[in-house]
Symmetry: C2
DNA sequence: CCATTTTGTGTATATACGACACAAAGACAT
DNA sequence: ATGTCTTTGTGTCGTATATACACAAAATGG
């Protein structure tokens, strides 16, 4: 496939990697998966999993491969986040990183440890080790911002919950991601039910007080004409344009 | 800077380019800048301007360089769009393209023709030549989707208009980008004025009927805490997740 | 000076939002 | 049993916001 042609001789090439911010829900809190680096640079610091893109490999396939290597998970929600390319972000060489974020369900927890690095560990996003290696603090901020903002108008939260869940669990997930503020139960329930994306599973489950009804996300709704806006606990709308300004990438 | 280190020998590297979708307003319509390719592949087809990223060059600086080379413009709004990396998107070799979109003001029209390609031309987005070279049709769809969706909650439209403009012009710009449907004048005026981002310039200008008042965008509002939602002419919310699905990149 | 065109403003109705009260369903203790 | 406690679920009410639409204002031209 690589064939030299007239007037198409690219200069020295940067390396290209994918990094994947993997979110999940553990004990009702949002967590991300980090690896501890064994060698310099940034030895003994925590980093987002990632690796080189193979020459004939699509970008999101590379992201899925990394995800699978680190967690053993397949078929998770994956979305490209942003591409980071500051010339000095890796001191060894020019590395351009296409960052992704992934959401894995709370009930599929057969996460296997990785072989490559000394340690793999879930961290609550509220208690991340800092600083992370490379520019991964910045990537993490991007991922969290995106997750928060998309939560306001998509069904992303369902990707984090187990197959079957209760409304209090769903509500708590929203609160976790959006911030501290507690959402109003009545308004939340009404809005989510009016959206018509929930399917009752009839059963119940105990949790201290009155049992909560179980629901399942309407999987058949492949027509994603669904918009679920949540404004009550609005986070400061630091628009992406401003973010970009801050990147100076 | 490039130094070989232990256990960090990347495989053959893909080439990395930046492509820039450049939007402007010409005769009240949204246009994009395209180049006609002189050589294969895709000879004589139209393409989005772009080029290789230099080894020590930040990504958005590369995008600004391409933009400047093609249009002579500086200090325009620029935002990273998405990174396209399908292995076969360029038949010659593996090329990963970081796409950007730019908004240039209508009044700064000293666009100089390019030297590199045979032709440079503005096209109305409603009358694009098709198909474009490479996967540029897809990139164009992405850019338009992003422009539309960001128009609902940011001040992006002002980046397309000249320094001083009228409310009918602003309204028409929104209509152009959002689609066909005509927005309600009363509601639009009220909303935009309540947002408090307009500064009256007092003067007037003729246009057939009653003269329209002139306004300037409040530049001092660098604090982008401003949110301008427009819902009336809601476009089908094909969320980015769905878009990603469609990419299969 | 009256018709026409386009800009600008006001109003009325419907819908959505946010705060809050209260009922329902279990567990547990007395 | 009965009452208290806790959490879930539903209803309501005032307010804000959105949308549709009417009408006034400022020019132009016969």
């Amino acid at each position: 496939m690589v064939q030299t042609k007239q007037s198409f001789e690219p200069p020295d090439r940067p390396a290209v990697t994918v990094d994947v911010v993997i979110f999940t829900l553990r004990e009702r809190e949002v967590h991300v998966l980090l690896l501890k680096r064994r060698y310099p640079p940034f030895a003994d610091q925590w980093a987002i999993p990632g690796g080189f893109v193979k020459l004939d490999e699509p970008l999101d396939q590379a992201a899925r491969r990394e995800l699978e290597e680190e967690t053993g998970l397949q078929d998770v929600y994956l979305e490209q986040l942003y591409t980071f390319g500051a010339p000095d972000r890796d001191p060894r060489m020019r590395v351009i990183s296409v960052a992704y974020f992934a959401l894995v369900r709370a009930d599929v927890q057969q996460i296997r440890g990785s072989h490559e690095s000394s340690e793999v560990q879930w961290f609550a996003v509220k208690a991340l080790p800092q600083p992370l290696a490379f520019d991964h603090d910045q990537i993490m901020r991007f991922a969290l911002d995106r997750l928060r903002s998309k939560l306001e108008y998509t069904t992303l939260a369902f990707q984090l919950l187990p197959e079957v869940f209760t409304l209090p669990e769903l509500k708590q997930t929203y609160e976790q991601i959006l911030g501290e503020k507690e959402l109003d139960r009545g308004n939340f329930y009404r809005k989510i039910k009016e959206a018509g994306v929930l399917e009752s599973v009839g059963k119940q489950r105990e949790s201290g007080g009155r049992p909560a009804a179980l629901y399942r996300f309407q999987a058949n709704r492949r027509d994603n004409d669904f918009v679920f806006r949540w404004r009550e606990a609005r986070i400061e709308p630091r628009g992406e344009g401003a973010v970009d300004d801050a990147v100076r990438d």
